[in-house]
Symmetry: C2
Subunit: 247 residues, 2 copies
């Protein structure tokens, strides 16, 4: 039914989780576990390596394996493309391009992105609706040097987030979540009041050391939240990842 290395993994994991083995506790040596479970060392090793890869234990040659200090809290947030997410949840998603302009990167924006001034960029503003109600305002910058085909793309039928995702691989992403008060223009577009709390997600993706895109997504605070679960128990990535929040 369950494999041996999996059983070893779970046995140890349980003892760590329930606090039977406190941080710093030395886990039995591989040869001890071999005796206990009557299996080969490779099998034990597979289980312990997996625990180490997870950060639940740390291992040192000649010394042994130890329960790692408590992972205070580490939560995995799935942040998805807004149209994909809305469709998955059975909602109707729409969007409208408010602005689409090719510009050259000015000093202030360049500094913000950590890029050099003067590059060609595509600046996109976009309003997303879910079931007819304004749900997000998207302000995006695309580096045209990295994504030349964006220069001629109208984004009339595929929203920019989705288009980029399919188009351009990336190697690094950074997210920032903050709360801001809506200014007049934002409030009008999102059909909320001026000064209202909005949840803003900023994302910048890179390929190597060069920015691909930078996007700021502004949600009305009363209609939106991010959520994430953390189960120290979970192994690997489930086939059907739990649906969490989106942007």
């Amino acid at each position: 039914m369950v494999s041996i290395h999996q059983r070893i993994f779970e046995d140890i994991e349980t003892r760590i989780m329930t606090g039977v083995w406190q941080p710093g506790h030395r886990i039995p040596f591989e040869h001890e576990l071999v005796q206990e479970y009557r299996c080969s060392r490779m099998t034990v090793n597979k289980a312990l390596s997996a625990l180490a890869e997870r950060g639940m234990i740390t291992r040192r040659r000649k010394v042994g394996s130890f329960v790692a200090s408590r992972q205070i809290d580490r939560t995995v947030m799935d942040i998805q493309d807004i149209s994909t997410e809305a469709e998955l949840a059975g909602h109707d998603h729409g969007y409208r391009i408010l602005r689409r302009r090719i510009e050259t990167l000015d000093g202030a924006t360049a500094a913000q992105l950590g890029e050099t001034t003067g590059s060609d960029i595509l600046r996109l503003h976009c309003l997303h609706t879910v079931d007819g109600k304004p749900n997000a305002l998207e302000r995006r910058i695309i580096m045209l040097a990295m994504v030349p085909s964006a220069r001629t793309e109208s984004f009339a039928s595929v929203p920019p987030g989705k288009w980029l995702l399919d188009m351009v691989p990336w190697s690094k992403a950074r997210h920032v979540i903050r709360a801001v008060s809506a200014d007049a223009a934002t409030a009008r577009l999102l059909e909320t009041e001026r000064g209202k709390a909005c949840l803003t997600l900023i994302r910048q993706t890179w390929q190597g050391s060069r920015t691909v895109t930078h996007v700021e997504i502004i949600h009305p605070g009363d209609r939106f939240q991010f959520a994430g679960d953390f189960h120290p128990t979970e192994r690997g990535i489930p086939d059907q990842p739990p649906r969490r929040s989106s942007f």
Copy 2:
């Protein structure tokens, strides 16, 4: 220098990341990679298993291994205890208990927590300061059945978040991030204006199926943000996890 299974892992990962192998592409069979790298199947298997565990490929017997559909975005946020985080960043952290009361769980709150009414709880309100300025308002509920020793703890010298972390193991945590406008009382405590956007983190932790604690941390929006990086490249959990945001 680098082990063979690691080299195989990285070679394949690179091809996926850079888009040379698109989602759906079939990865060479194990026996093909064995020939290519002139190593044993176990070594190849270790690399491919790791890729599968990471969700970068999916594997099916008799069929083969395939590049998984793009992981749209999954970001890991380290959410730490506020005092620990402040100290790490070299700031001065202080706090003050505003309220500490033992109550019985009323209907509305019980529903919110997904617990049954009538249990004994400890309700704590707490104001955190960083370098003397109000930085967060903490509203916490502790289930006394799960943490009996909280009944007599004053929390005068150890902030409740830290105390609980050291005291009680947990098996599941859930986080919600939202933006809210400050009401009058909150604004006064945080020394900001009424209606100002605030970033709120809600966290509930369970042990098994029973709630341990529920906490709501309200930050002034202009002084706070969450941030998280995601590198598809990163293997495992680094020894010194990068410091990210806190609560």
